[in-house]
Subunit: 347 residues, 2 copies
DNA sequence: TTGTAAGCGTTATCAG
DNA sequence: CTGATAACGCTTACAA
């Protein structure tokens, strides 16, 4: 049993703690803490404490406070790829909600890697964040098992294939595809190609199916030659579109996201093909990119920002009320018509 | 003096701590901790502890560990605007360096707001991050005072106007402007316009001066009519370029960043002006955007990613060696010639 | 109102 | 090698 050692004054080498303030004010650390947190304290004592705090420039240590409070005030946001504007959109909106609640956003970049996502979820047991927004494009069985009992609340943006006890918000990309196809059909296009991202991803596979269904619903034939599959990037979109054009001559191209659509636009323009006169293009996600291209991209807005906002909201609500029933939301898509489908939208 | 209360077994409601493991293994928490950290422990005892840890799924609490270690393993990265691809570029590279060091990146969005940057710097005293990378476009006096004695190391990307004791890395955007002008002059352009961002920002004012100097160096007249000032955004670039075209007819436009350049490109193309034949365009930053437009943007690479990488490196080095001499690095710019200045770069 | 001390979960120090 | 305990800096019973 070690002998109790008493502390003497400002023994903290430069480090200012509540003890420093208390000693300087000549009060107990409990009183100092109380005053600093606005809980009680006689006027006279409060004044002394506050003066002392100001004098030494006291700022409470966030870690110690977190340990005591059992919460960090940090919310994690995991995205596969910070280079894709759709995730930027989501992060931006989520950040607003989170910072408005007095918390901060901790960004994780997973590279779409299942292993790192799983490790991330496992790591939540370390409790360095109070909750996590997981924006994933592929939910594997490995996810499911861990999501079933994570250490802190998780909100997922994206489709959930099976029952997992997490709040989530998803886009209705199938409906989005239908909107796009209907728009093109209305414009008289009949040879509508589809440049997709990877079928290994949930959005990729859903959009693939929806494309076929939408064509059939519109009374158009489904022609495998009109389909190209790559990745959700500009380069892949460019390459896929070039392959497509060597094989067939569509009168419209639906692209699985705006990056791909930019690639398709590039491929068409560099081949001297007129957009939208000869070939129309529709992107998906309606990111900032859609406004930048020339001509501007018609795009299906799948509510990316909205999803970020809602995911953050769901998570914060969950933190406040851990036992509330699970919530799932789906965002209705809408079409933003610009110049890659209709000439002179706003020239 | 309160009587000492002894703990009995698994009294932690569901919460697994090192004590849970120790109790289960029948050893002291000190031994458990040692084994779990790979420091000593007889084979037999180690086995018992590890088995117990596995059994209860023990994961060390990051907050408690941080409190003890006096470090969180978090590095803050403050950017004005996550919508600008230049910052994405920087964050991306910095994130790599930081995560390779076993730490994580905490993203702050300051909206370029001086007040929130200052508050951020003040808040560092809370010690929720081990260090901060501050990417700012405007260093005010308020910054200076606080930067002079922040609680944790800060690395700045951007110009420092006065002496502040922080490591920093900067672009040489003046040299970049010279590269651009020389390129245009070599191509025979003589009416070279400049669409700039705000002069209130360091990059804005530096590029402004450099533009004039470069023209003079090239033996060209400086004509105020050829200068437009707006913001570092696409919309501002578009609007400014349209104002410019109503007034004069340049044969080249230098833009203060790629977003502005995209706007300029848009303005030209929508006015039916041929790029690069009639008007050439050069952007700055060489972001991903430069590859997406059609034609692709010639752009001055100011080493954005490099700056992110180096800033992270500087900060980590500083953490390791707090008393090392301050370091400042400047990244040499280089020109990436694409199709907005030279036809058929890679068609 | 104020002070004493326990406790948050770790790691580090020091005896045994 | 192992165990008891102090310490990190804070909040909060509880006691005076």
């Amino acid at each position: 049993m070690g002998r109790k050692r008493f502390r003497i004054g400002y023994q903290h080498g430069g480090r200012v703690t509540v003890r420093t303030v208390a000693d300087l004010a000549g009060v107990s650390i409990a009183s100092a803490s109380r005053v600093l947190n606005g809980l009680g304290g006689s006027p006279e004592l409060s004044a002394r404490v506050r003066a002392a705090a100001d004098r030494v420039g006291y700022v409470p240590n966030a870690i110690a406070r977190s340990l005591q409070a059992q919460r960090t005030g940090l919310i994690g946001f995991a995205v596969p790829d910070i280079g894709n504007p759709i995730f930027i959109q989501m992060v931006r909106q989520a950040e607003k909600v989170v910072s408005d609640s007095g918390r901060q956003l901790l960004l994780h970049v997973t590279r779409g890697d299942v292993a790192s996502e799983v490790e991330l979820l496992r790591g939540l047991a370390r409790r360095y964040v109070d909750g996590l927004i997981l924006s994933t494009i592929k939910v594997t069985e490995a996810h499911q098992a861990i999501l079933a009992n994570v250490a802190v609340p998780v909100a997922v943006t994206g489709q959930l294939l099976t029952d997992v006890p997490v709040d989530h918000v998803e886009a209705d990309s199938a409906a989005g595809v239908h909107l796009a196809i209907e728009h093109l059909v209305k414009l008289g296009r009949t040879r509508i190609a589809f440049v997709n991202g990877s079928l290994d991803t949930i959005p990729g596979s859903i959009r693939h199916t929806a494309y076929r269904e939408a064509l059939i619903a519109a009374g158009l034939p489904v022609n495998g030659d009109l389909i190209e599959i790559g990745e959700f990037t500009f380069d892949a979109g460019l390459a896929a579109s070039r392959r497509l054009l060597q094989r067939v001559r569509p009168d419209a191209i639906l692209c699985a996201n705006d990056l791909i659509a930019s690639g398709a636009l590039h491929a068409l323009l560099s081949a001297g093909i007129k957009v939208p006169e000869e070939v129309a293009i529709i992107g998906m996600d309606n990111t900032g990119l859609a406004e930048l291209t020339f001509p501007r991209l018609t795009s299906v807005d799948l509510g990316g920002g909205e999803r970020g906002r809602i995911a953050a909201r769901l998570l914060l609500d969950r933190l406040e009320n851990p036992d509330a029933p699970l919530r799932s939301e789906a965002i209705a898509p809408y079409l933003v018509v610009r110049e890659t489908t209709v000439k002179d939208d706003a020239a």
